[in-house]
Symmetry: D2
Subunit: 346 residues, 4 copies
Amino acid sequence: MIKIAILGGSGYTGLELLRILGQHPEAEVFAITSRQSKGRCIGEVFPGLDKFSGLKFEDPANFSAFSKAQLIFSALPHHASMEVVPHFIKKGQKVIDLSADFRLKSARVYGLWYGKHTAKDLLKKAVYGIPELYRDKIKDAVLVANPGCYPTGAILGLAPILKAGFIETDSIVIDSKSGVSGAGRTASLDTSFSEVNEGFKAYNVGEHRHTPEIEQELSRIAGKDIEVTFTPHLLPVNRGIFSTMYASLKGKNVSYATVLNVYNKYYTNEFFIRIMPEGTYPNLSHVKGSNFCDIGFKIDKRTGRLIIITAIDNLVKGASGQAVQNMNIMFGFSETAGLLLPPLSV
Amino acid sequence: MIKIAILGGSGYTGLELLRILGQHPEAEVFAITSRQSKGRCIGEVFPGLDKFSGLKFEDPANFSAFSKAQLIFSALPHHASMEVVPHFIKKGQKVIDLSADFRLKSARVYGLWYGKHTAKDLLKKAVYGIPELYRDKIKDAVLVANPGCYPTGAILGLAPILKAGFIETDSIVIDSKSGVSGAGRTASLDTSFSEVNEGFKAYNVGEHRHTPEIEQELSRIAGKDIEVTFTPHLLPVNRGIFSTMYASLKGKNVSYATVLNVYNKYYTNEFFIRIMPEGTYPNLSHVKGSNFCDIGFKIDKRTGRLIIITAIDNLVKGASGQAVQNMNIMFGFSETAGLLLPPLSV
Amino acid sequence: MIKIAILGGSGYTGLELLRILGQHPEAEVFAITSRQSKGRCIGEVFPGLDKFSGLKFEDPANFSAFSKAQLIFSALPHHASMEVVPHFIKKGQKVIDLSADFRLKSARVYGLWYGKHTAKDLLKKAVYGIPELYRDKIKDAVLVANPGCYPTGAILGLAPILKAGFIETDSIVIDSKSGVSGAGRTASLDTSFSEVNEGFKAYNVGEHRHTPEIEQELSRIAGKDIEVTFTPHLLPVNRGIFSTMYASLKGKNVSYATVLNVYNKYYTNEFFIRIMPEGTYPNLSHVKGSNFCDIGFKIDKRTGRLIIITAIDNLVKGASGQAVQNMNIMFGFSETAGLLLPPLSV
Amino acid sequence: MIKIAILGGSGYTGLELLRILGQHPEAEVFAITSRQSKGRCIGEVFPGLDKFSGLKFEDPANFSAFSKAQLIFSALPHHASMEVVPHFIKKGQKVIDLSADFRLKSARVYGLWYGKHTAKDLLKKAVYGIPELYRDKIKDAVLVANPGCYPTGAILGLAPILKAGFIETDSIVIDSKSGVSGAGRTASLDTSFSEVNEGFKAYNVGEHRHTPEIEQELSRIAGKDIEVTFTPHLLPVNRGIFSTMYASLKGKNVSYATVLNVYNKYYTNEFFIRIMPEGTYPNLSHVKGSNFCDIGFKIDKRTGRLIIITAIDNLVKGASGQAVQNMNIMFGFSETAGLLLPPLSV
């Protein structure tokens, strides 16, 4: 049993960490902080979790309380996270950071999208936490930068075919649709029920902050700089990121079987990746509440494009589930421990 | 590990049995039937369950296959269930029946609401499967009649106060709202998305088949015949039964503390019952995917009425979860085995 | 063409007034205020209304601008409304107030539920604006108190049978379910999409502010003091108020035909009331976007209760549509002018 | 007042025709057929329309009844429509066909996607009914092929920029999301509430029947053969088609102002087209229930792609509203007659 502390736990990623870790055979959350909910019981803030935890949210000012934690999940917003994470790293504690603060390798690029970086020396130490791509590095990491929700779905879908060198690297279009929980647990007219329900819209078109994160990882895989067109949309469902991706195949004669083989090989033995049978495609319903990334694809022979579709639960594989998967790897637990969560398809 | 067979498993109660039993430490589903999905893999019919089970749906005609089952869950429709259940009971196998066929003690009453009963001799043997009320009988049962979804929410909410004798027994009004999955996994214009979404309606007003089931149990508790007014509504959500119940308190001076005490005592040590703190009330969100029944209440002092509110997940505590809870009791497992499912509140 | 000003028009009732009045043959909105949206075009705040109005929201401080208005709709919150309404009345302008400020006849009762009333002298002048009940008074009114959404649905459903003297006046239970737009156009965690969607809850159980309004009107109709039990619920749809009401019939022998006759007579020639055929019941879908109040009922012979069900669109018959209906009466227009809005059933 | 008959009117396009035409100042529906609802009143099949029409659905076998119709809307399924349309044309009656039967100019292409065409001689006569593109031809048409919902949104979004010659014609990707009413008013497990709600999926990926229709029109505009990649998705809302379209700009230096100018010019004086201000994008909420097509766009300078976004109500501009717009043109009415329907944004 390792001892875990969660920082900034009164949002949806905190809720999910509690939901998942509450059933984990090897880990125990012993402290959780929240500025806005300090002093309140978990069951009071999240009535659904009543009977699962007797913890109270603590004032984040009480740093001392966390000195016993073997692992700290930071669910703080960006900027807030990089103010405290170095403190833990210095003390020899391991950290999984769910904010954007340690995902980008370049402080300059971070600056362009998020503002000044104040913990640059940790950027090299931080490992980008997609286990299916960086499992070996995660094993030895002291700081894991847990990926963004959009990047997780996009990178998992594009990595195999990009690695195989089958697509034109300047042809990638990523059309993503996110459930509303991705906007966080906050009061906002933009995410109020009456404004979102029965609607559908694009936002931050061509300028969403997850763009450089996606491009960084795709460029690493391809071994050259890649720029993509990325359009996020707001979907009137609670959970999920659905990405429909388009890329031109290099040769017109690439067959479905060839592409399938590329994906099957790349993801051999990956429990959390499910390649869909030919002619079937992912549905957010089938991943809801689970740590899966479902992948389907189609070759549009008429235009020579490959259409790749991925579906994840933004709060699980796109956030807290993947964070626990990273934890399992860092501490030598079974990678699926606590994560054998069948989706709530209905 | 006990060996389990599921009959009629391609509906939503089958899906939920698979979701729950797939993580159960002491039980294993080794066979499942479905007339309409026979020959197809579980992951094909329920893509969300892919990787959790390698079983195929079998032709229900293959009875012989089930001879090894120690427990059979029948998720067949009413009438269909009572045609096959006697066969298993005769062979000494235990059965938990999720249909309405063995819930009513009186074949005459069954006849009024469902049609002719053809296995009357089993009605006495059958135990009505609400563990919080009949745990001791369930322990020794060979046939458990798993309660209806509406009755579960209504009975759990009314039992304590009725038992305590605090309410006028002719004053009970039950206003219930059910998620659409309660209508089953079938094609129907009435439950098609465009017809249900953004709508809300009452149906079977004052004449729903769950009425006699509710009345039978309330009458048993009160020790006298009780008739209730029961109005079911269709709620545009996937899961959940929410019941708002009204009854006149016998004395105008009954306090909240007194009523709270009645409920706390009645449900002492019941893990799956959560009594809400004063001034807070259940929300379907907080039970979604879990086996809880959340209960809240309010005394309307001006009118002398007690308002009792319960929320359950119709597919879990209202069907498959309660069925597994019954199984745990019948086989001496921990009652929460496989059922420590935190709700997916978001 | 009469000239209309709207105060506090950037909420949902303002949006609906603009939607409806934009198509009205006899009325023209020439000014609208909003503190938070002042200076912005209507099409910018409500993009759906782009091309329907070239108006800008004005600073409410500019009272002078409204001196030309023949009718003022106040869509301000309670308290804010009674601060400005007297000003217009003094000047001889007519006002329809959509807040709660002039609905209750008793300043004392207002005080218990809303706080101190500062324009008591107008309470007698104000006419409660349900046309089906007070058409004659509305004709000559200078100040119409537009009813609350819950009261509209409840009163229209109960008035005929109460007037007829067929029900026990101490037996009334009103179980209401409201769409989320009823909570207004504001940022709040409680009405954020992820918190509301797939959930259902009761709120202000037994203590909602609309209770005294309902009771005032029912008491007037019955000619004696009536107290009701009223439970509002939050329904995950944008629009609609659905009320399921229960009352004990005085005689066990009252037939459906008798009750139907009571309703048909009471609502003879009322265009906006639709009595449903026997065995069918209202559905929010069928009133969405329209000014109808659909009414259905059932006699539960076993318990002697009458179940009355009403459905309205909370923003139309429950607010802005009824306000326009009142305007039509006050100015001698056809009562349905601008209100022949077929619902958007799908 | 022209006299109108509707064939196959018990689906959602029939419902919308009735909703719109019921308020039309110059047209009157005097007959409507439906095989499955024959003999039933409109208000019985569509309770929302009660009080708006006293018509009954007639048996389609009664052709004679329609001889007085000056215009016939056929809302029959494809194949069924081309069996009866020639009959009316021969008699000199005008027809607006909402099926796919007369949209494709090539019987061969029709054959590939829909099966054998049996009224080929009418293909030349039929005018493709997007008024913004073919207004002059529609004026004189006897047979208008009312466009598909997906094609309407795609073509209106791409036509201006394609006509201007600014994009690479082999670079077009159309990622569309449709509300569930697009699947029609039928019982199907695939469109049942519990299967669709909280889900999101792509379907008919790269092989949807609307592909040749889109390509036919884009090719006509561009003056050369164009093939596109088209992916439809099922969106858990009742209404709307949202299309996010991608195309490479020919020159990297095309500015936003230039593109905006192209759209503004192309759609000068088009009431039903709304070009969104820079930095804002369409939302299905803003067109719900209306005949608008909202268009927004963004130049992704980094990749040289133009992102064009359109939103329509699939049942209005994508079907029945556009059909009425075509009627208005054919009969010399004001083009907006009956179509000044402000959207129900909330």
